[in-house]
Symmetry: C2
Subunit: 419 residues, 2 copies
């Protein structure tokens, strides 16, 4: 195992004189889009990447090659940075504690990050600060699982405490015996488990804020995140709130994200993913599902629908600089994920597919990540906004959702789904 | 003289699989901002740069080092590109003709570019296509200059045919004898000269379009370019047109830019810089001043005030791909250039100056170029837009101009000019 990064792509000459240096650990599309903002702000993003061909590495001048699971590598790439941040939550916290002990400015800090890494720790913390979570329990044995089944009358959602995403690491067993078998098998594979009470999902919301180490907070409007098979495919910003109950739920989510950021000491961008469900009186209520402490898929709309994008805001926040306006530049923006087709990549070249989309939708903002096809892989997204000055109506928001979805579908199928 | 580029910064691994490759010759802020758009579109920008520390080289993964005045270097960096384009007009046309003969897709082509390189050629072409230019003449001798002085009753503006910018290469001699002396001296230094009749300048306008090799054209609204000492310091988009006469002048400028793009076969972004003057009846009229065939300073507002920025549009246009919507995202956007202070760079670090600006103006979009201070050097710009839904009024546009100017002044003086 190497313990020094490979510096053959490093570019010390690429640092703007006198400007901050941010080390970003992670080489995916989130780091790639941070780099776009770094260029704009004149600061330097130094990247720790697994490969020079990785999404963010394609877009970055100063790339250090190495593994974030190697403490020496993480230490080397962090040296001299004004801030160290991440595009994922997987850097071992012990490394980060070590960096902090050495005086490195790591943002967000592991004391906050743990809540984005471990679903059980997060739910305990949410309960402690009064944030809404469904009944949950740690599952250390088959007996624990059976007990939870009985206590919830079979409304069991079983989750891996760590590492799940996009629908992975979540199970809905359909009987007490299936629950017992599944838990036995997972515990046998050393998967740390928790269970929570299944809720009646009306829709998913995402409430995002940015917070600086000094405590400044800026919130974006709450968005609706439309999901299928555990993967977000549309985000609608702001979340429609047609009824008083929905408006109340959205307002609660908005406040909650600020509270979570403050109570947990989050720095940088925080996404609070929420379920909107119904209470016993039939009124909308919200429940915390996940936390992410970095730019988030449900915030990509901010690139084209908001004064300050989540990527710029994240860089400003981790450097403890004043946050930008989160005012909307359009009354509604819809983001549609470009998800690799399940079966195959179409023969038509991606460039030609983009051209077709642009011919039909000249306002479509296509963002690609430099990734090739894999089934269901996030390879880009499309943002579309209502025209300047247009008020949002049920009709034009529905049309915007349809158009953004048609555009993103075309990009992965080379087919117009409405024709 | 080297005849191979230095490839030690080249990054063939940084090419997104299957996506277009655009070679950009030039390493300034225009190439830097093209790179931001290239990242978004998932295509690869390969840069020919003079130095790895140059503005665009800081922001680009695949940098080839070499001189654009070296034909072998230009040929090498162009090989295999889907399009070759520029961030300046100084690549010798003979090189470009050679590339084209070899089958390289150079955009814009030298037959159009010559009009952005040679002011006399451009004016002849403008006259030929019926575009408004003041009386002008080629100046090959002192006698030519004296004749022009007599013919215009002393209203002489003398210009170097090539290489002038930001007020350089333009002279306003105040007497017949001064004209003769100046021309003698310049001709002695082999400066190719022309003269045109001095006009009464009311204000400067800039009309920008993009055009593809297939002939698709997209226009942005005409902007007012506010200048001092020959350098643009503010651009107001769209140009205010309070009177019917002004509205007429602006509409004429808008149409003219399309006509020029078509008649000259321009591809990529074209900026037509215009003087608004008054005719004999006292009504506004327009006169072509300069052409630029690349993204232009007066189009920087498009990054934050328009669906498709000039940088994205330029890449799309040179690749002959469908053009994006040029619809406004705000009723008015003001761009203020950040021009290095004439005397000295303030002690306060640039980051701290940005923070001060953001504290006062959370909607200010600061764009920096990774350049250090030199007197009057363009080191960045600030875009500020009216809020979503706000109609433009004399009052709020005046406030926007003031705020953008205050912000850009602070960035180079560390002083609020209104305090």
């Amino acid at each position: 195992m190497s313990s020094e990064p490979d510096l053959h792509l490093a570019r010390p000459d690429a640092h703007a004189p006198g400007m901050p240096l941010v080390t970003v650990i992670g080489d995916g599309q989130l780091a790639r889009m941070m780099q776009q903002s770094g260029i704009e702000l004149g600061l330097t993003v130094r990247l720790l990447a697994g490969s020079g061909a990785a999404s963010a590495a394609q877009a970055t001048a100063d790339v250090w090659l190495g593994e974030y699971t190697d403490e020496d590598v993480v230490r080397a790439v962090s040296a001299g940075a004004d801030a160290v941040t991440f595009d994922h939550e997987h850097v071992p916290n012990a490394f980060l504690e070590g960096l902090i002990a050495d005086g490195v400015n790591v943002q967000p800090q592991p004391s906050a990050l743990i809540n984005a890494q471990d679903k059980l720790v997060m739910r305990k913390k949410m309960r402690e600060i009064g944030a809404p979570v469904p009944p949950f329990a740690e599952i250390l044995s088959v007996a624990d699982a059976e007990g939870f089944w009985d206590a919830t009358a079979g409304a069991v959602c079983l989750k891996a405490r760590r590492g799940g995403y996009d629908g992975k690491g979540v199970w809905f067993p359909s009987s007490r015996s299936e629950t017992a078998e599944l838990v036995a098998e997972l515990l046998d594979r050393d998967v740390p488990l928790m269970a929570e009470k299944k809720v009646t999902l009306v829709r998913e919301l995402s409430a995002m804020v940015a917070r600086t180490p000094s405590g400044e907070i800026a919130s974006w409007p709450v968005v609706e995140s439309v999901q299928a098979d555990g993967i977000c495919y549309l985000a609608v910003a702001p979340a429609p709130a047609a009824t008083g109950g929905q408006a109340h739920a959205v307002a609660k989510a908005h406040t909650l994200a600020r509270d979570v950021a403050e109570e947990l000491g989050v720095t940088g961008v925080l996404a609070v993913e929420l379920f909107e469900t119904v209470d016993e009186a039939g009124e909308p209520e919200i429940i915390v599902n996940e936390l992410a402490m970095r730019p988030h898929n449900t915030g990509h709309w901010t690139q084209d629908g908001c004064v300050t994008s989540q990527f710029e805001q994240h860089l400003r926040a981790v450097l403890d600089r004043p946050l930008g306006s989160t005012a909307l530049t359009s009354t509604t923006t819809v983001m549609a994920n470009v998800l690799g087709d399940a079966d195959a990549d179409p023969e038509q070249a991606m460039s030609a597919r983009m051209d077709e989309v642009w011919r039909r939708f000249p306002t479509a903002k296509i963002h690609l990540y430099g990734k090739d096809w894999r089934p269901r892989r996030k390879i880009g997204h499309v943002n579309m906004s209502l025209p300047c000055g247009a008020a949002a109506t049920d009709e034009n928001v529905a049309a915007l959702r349809r158009d953004a979805q048609l555009a993103s579908d075309y990009l992965v199928t080379a087919t117009w789904k409405d024709q």
